[in-house]
């Protein structure tokens, strides 16, 4: 079902935390609300679920405005960070609970529980209590409970935050698989860019109660709307260098980078350089010293202090043999650099 937030506003007391937010999630699409803690992404999610009162605007499920409809009447499924399984009930009873409160027959409940348990692959755990399950299994139960009533929208609130790294990768693809198989419209709230990029069709990057950019993951990575977006996406993160643009482009330290092109005459600007676009033999060589090396196994991450000031990160395949303290003359691939105004606007 298509979900539309139209001028959604939320206040806590006198503080407006979300002001007139617009967002459209297409039918069957999975979208990520990505942002640092306190940016309003969970608030938005809880408002969609009906757990927070809406102070303005419309929330449309299909054609129906549910902004003033109680949570019980909305038909959303939600998976919480701590799963919020009912500890005194078995897995089967947990999953059946939404059907039970709707007065479904026992046979009907049993059939639907088995069906959804099969989908999330917990068919053999139905008689266990939540305390007897591992984190990943609890996650699956929570997902099954959210999906069993065929909700209009599936809401996921940091669903992977409590899992260890290996399980997190596994559940990332599991949740996406189940979402695609059921074709349900889903919203994922996360502060983890990797989750957002790997699981979702589109990402809505949020900051201070507003959406900064909505785009597909690759598009957002390659074409960030401003300095904030560029800094948020990418791991290891992008590095920024102060630069001056007049006839030619030079770094704040004085080193020339080449013709200014479209940036001519803009004065002081900032350049964003991703680690993969800085390294040996990539454009104009710049003097620098390696100050830090992190070994990641397949590749090494270097931090380089430039002779004229400023730091850059580079990511190279393992085995380059470069040690900290080495002087290097690596260059920047100028075709892939982002330019930002001092206020952070993309140029």
């Amino acid at each position: 079902m298509r979900l539309v937030l139209d001028g959604f506003t939320k206040r806590f007391g006198d503080t407006t935390v979300i002001d007139a937010l617009d967002l459209t999630v297409e039918d069957g699409e999975m979208i990520a609300l990505l942002g640092p803690s306190g940016c309003g992404k969970s608030t938005t999610l809880f408002a969609i679920a009906g757990l927070h009162r809406v102070d303005g605007g419309r929330i449309l499920f299909g054609e129906r405005d549910v902004a003033q409809v109680s949570a019980q009447e909305r038909n959303v499924g939600i998976v919480f960070q701590n799963y919020a399984l009912y500890p005194h009930m078995t897995v089967a009873q947990n999953i059946a609970f939404p059907l039970r409160v709707r007065g479904a027959s026992v046979a009907d409940m049993d059939r639907k529980v088995r069906e959804i348990a099969g989908l999330v692959q917990i068919g053999e755990l139905l008689e266990r209590k939540p305390a007897q399950l591992s984190g990943g299994q609890q996650q699956r139960v929570a997902l099954a409970r959210a999906l069993v009533r065929k909700p209009d929208v599936l809401l996921l609130d940091e669903p992977l935050a409590n899992l260890d790294a290996k399980l997190r990768m596994e559940m990332r693809s599991e949740i996406r698989r189940v979402q695609l198989e059921t074709g349900i419209t889903a919203i994922l709230v996360t502060h983890d860019q990797v989750e957002a990029m790997s699981m979702c069709d589109r990402i809505a990057l949020m900051k201070a109660g507003g959406i900064v950019q909505i785009a597909e993951p690759a598009e957002m990575y390659d074409n960030p709307a401003d300095r904030y977006v560029a800094g948020f996406l990418g791991n290891p993160p992008i590095a920024f260098l102060d630069a001056v643009s007049d006839d030619i482009l030079r770094l704040a330290g004085g080193a020339a980078l080449g013709a200014a092109g479209t940036l001519q005459g803009l004065g002081p600007i900032a350049l964003g350089v991703r680690p993969e676009h800085y390294g040996p033999g990539k454009g104009v060589p710049l003097d620098g010293t390696v100050i830090m090396l992190e070994t990641h196994g397949r590749e090494d991450l270097f931090e380089v202090e430039l002779a004229g000031g400023g730091r850059l990160r580079a990511i190279l395949p393992a085995g380059s043999g470069v040690r900290p303290g080495t002087t290097v003359d690596w260059g920047i691939d100028m075709t892939r650099v982002f330019a930002f105004s001092p206020e952070g606007r993309r140029l």
């Binding site: 809880f46 949570a71 499924g77 939600i78 919480f80 009912y86 409160v101 409970r145």
Partner: protein, 279 residues
């Protein structure tokens, strides 16, 4: 689990010290039991005969027209049970409201709870006496139960609030989005989480009612609503012919149910001091 070791020489001084310290207690408990089935000449500590005479209160009233211990035990049971049930049922709902509902006057009620909890309630006894008198509940078991419940409630609500506070909000949020109304959420999802607290409070307030002395003594002094505690006090009220062996026998009769309940439910009672559910 620590390895169990046989006591060795290093432990003996410790054990001797503990024995010396607890010997008076042991002797007291020992004589508490011995004296109820023996006769002892004045001035001696060695019993000189065996008798069941001190347990004669079980067979019938001690004096002509006096109360039977069985009806008193019945009274005490009714008193303690009613207190426990009312305290628990009011606490379990009031505590939920204070813990979770955003209602007007919440801060006032919470503050009131703490003040009443710390307040020596017995200082209210004169006012309570007047109120009961005015309502026509003076000298009735109902009146004493009401007063006892009122005095126990701050404790009960506070304890239950602690248990509710430890139930994650997300469980209720999940219940609400699953389509259940707030009452169903409370009944089916939250109440089972605080069940250990509920059981502990039930037992605790029962025991408190069972051992209550001052309230029945002051507010229901007539024969009919007497309870075991006041009966026991009555036995040694006459200081010339106080029968201490009889007193000890009645004490044991009075204390046995408490001991039994503690033994059966000690784990549940510990929950109250643990302050919440585990895992």
């Amino acid at each position: 689990m620590q390895e169990q070791r046989a006591p060795n020489a290093r432990h003996w001084p410790l054990i001797a010290g503990l024995v010396a310290l607890s010997a008076p207690l042991v002797v007291m408990y020992l004589y508490q039991v011995i004296d109820t089935v023996t006769t002892t000449p004045p001035g001696s500590i060695i019993p000189d005969g065996v008798t069941l005479g001190h347990w004669r209160f079980l067979a019938g009233p001690l004096s002509e027209g006096g109360p039977s211990v069985w009806s008193l035990a019945g009274n005490t049971l009714v008193f303690a049970t009613c207190t426990a049930l009312v305290v628990t049922s009011v606490s379990v709902t009031a505590a939920y409201a204070l813990s979770r509902l955003n209602m007007p006057g919440r801060g006032f009620f919470l503050g009131g709870l703490i003040v009443l909890h710390a307040f020596p309630t017995i200082t209210l006894i004169v006012a309570v006496f007047l109120i009961l008198q005015y309502m026509g509940l003076y000298d009735t078991l109902t009146g004493v139960i009401l007063v006892k419940v009122a005095f126990e409630l701050p404790f009960g609500i506070w304890i239950m609030k602690g248990f509710y506070d430890s139930v994650p909000w997300e469980i209720e949020m999940a219940g609400v989005t699953d389509g259940a109304d707030r009452f169903t959420v409370w009944r089916l999802l939250v109440l089972p989480q605080v069940q250990p607290g509920l059981a502990a409070l039930l037992i605790f307030s029962f025991l408190s009612g069972w051992s209550e002395f001052i309230l029945p003594l002051v507010l229901a002094p007539a024969n009919a609503p007497q309870v075991l505690a006041t009966y026991l006090a009555g036995i040694i009220a006459d200081d010339r012919f106080a029968d201490f062996s009889l007193f000890k026998a009645v004490s044991i009769f009075y204390a046995l149910p408490v001991l039994a309940i503690y033994m059966i439910f000690q784990k549940k009672l510990m929950n109250i001091y643990g302050g919440g559910t585990k895992g």
